[in-house]
């Protein structure tokens, strides 16, 4: 775990750059994290991000793509448009949550 400076804040991140402290995140950081992976954050992106944050708080795990669709109500197709190629991983990154567990 290392310290990184994002949008003027010092935050803890893992070796892949995922934030590790839930409380260190805010909307401003999300904007910069999104830019880091080539995404211009819109309100619709933020709907997904907010669901991830709330669900993580309730369940204690980063939700899967299926869960964001089934429980968060955002169609999978749209998630792929908002966060191209690897939506589950990219959403977690922007939301300041651990990388989703690769279930084995």
């Amino acid at each position: 775990m290392t310290l990184a400076t994002i949008a003027g804040h010092e935050v803890h991140v893992d070796d892949e750059g995922f934030m590790t402290e839930y409380e260190e995140w805010d909307d401003g950081l999300a904007k910069q994290l999104a830019i880091n992976i080539g995404i211009d954050l819109t309100e619709r992106h933020l709907d997904a991000i907010r669901f991830l944050r709330e669900d993580y708080l309730a369940v204690g795990e980063t939700p899967t793509l299926r869960r964001v669709t089934a429980v968060g109500g955002i169609p999978t197709k749209e998630l792929f448009q908002l966060f191209p190629k690897k939506p589950a991983k990219k959403m977690a990154y922007v939301a300041g949550l651990p990388k989703p567990v690769g279930c084995v």
């Binding site: 369940v59 795990e61 869960r67 429980v71 999978t76 191209p84 567990v101 279930c103 084995v104």
Partner: protein, 413 residues
Amino acid sequence: MKNLLVLGAGTAGTTLVNKLRPLLAEDEWSITVVDQSSEHHYQPGYLFIPFGGYTPADVVKPQAGFIPDGVTRIEGTIDEVIPPQNQVKLVDGTILDYDQLVIATGTSPRPDQTPGLDGPEWGKSIHTFYTLEGATRLRAALDEFEGGRILVHVTEMPIKCPVAPLEFAFLAESYFREREMRDRVELIYVTPLDGAFTKPVASKLLGNMLDERKIGLEADFYIERVDNEKRTVVSFDEREISFDLLVTVPLNMGADFVARSGLGNELNHVPVDHGNFLSKDWNNIFAIGDAADLPTSKAGSVAHFAVDIFIDNFLPHIRGEEMPMKFDGHANCFVESGDGKALLLDFNYEVQPLPGKYPVPVVGPFSLLEETAVNHYGKLMFKWMYWNALLPGRKIPLPALMSMAGKKEADES
């Protein structure tokens, strides 16, 4: 008299009642197990059926023979669990009361959950080996296959026995080589993961094994639908891959009654404490084996290790004490790699599969993360162990918790 009710007589449920019955006084606790089938299937054996290694007779036995004296077996379909009333309702209207409930109804392939997967091509050019019926049909399809493109496809994680589709790809490669038609068969492994497997060291090794065998890899492929007319799979990010034969692992979901009872997550798996399998909502409901939402493999080995932990915890639990044992997610899986060889993986929630020897450090006889013939014989021998030792609840000298002894830290670079 108190009632322990176990839903499901698969690997977890059967092992559990066999181990628990001698530990609970028969005049204090009754044990009842409910299952919708009269058969017990050795599910790891399905993999060998398409290649003619096993026949259905190798993998099916009557369930009743594995349920011990002193345990009541009910054949029936579960309609609903009603936790506030401590009752389970069966479809035929029967009401079963419980003091403690264990949900062990596993997880099942659900082709109906992907548009087009169970369409007109299902059973023709689209197959699965995740059911006995499917594996049997696939045997004929492979027999008749004259060449073309085969996709070995995983819909979404988690699935039962997550290495099985890789094993299928390796065995298919070997099978077509033996039939001297490998040059006419293109094999592609299509997965929603970003590599061959989930854990870095094993993923790299298994990825190399695909390369060596000239099996293509299409990663990050999250399927949206199957086009039956064009015979293609289409992903949410609009990649489209054609096939002559699609061997798929459909979405795996827990039983529908779990959802009806309000006990499941979005895949009908029961959220439980990962250390002791107790429901997050109810203090007298457990879920064990594939039915639970544990972040480890859905596999018989996990069910076996988990039952050992459960047994040590259950007696203190019914006395109202703290449960002393905590499961670590221990799993091990043999991975058939073709040509009479196999690898062995051993891991848990925290520690990924690493090279070394198992179960005895240095000595083995099994080699971790390495292809050997001994591992292959281990896998074949396991069928005997399963029927004769594991299900009847006999002591198997494999510790429930994972050990680092005998393992080598791997270089991840």
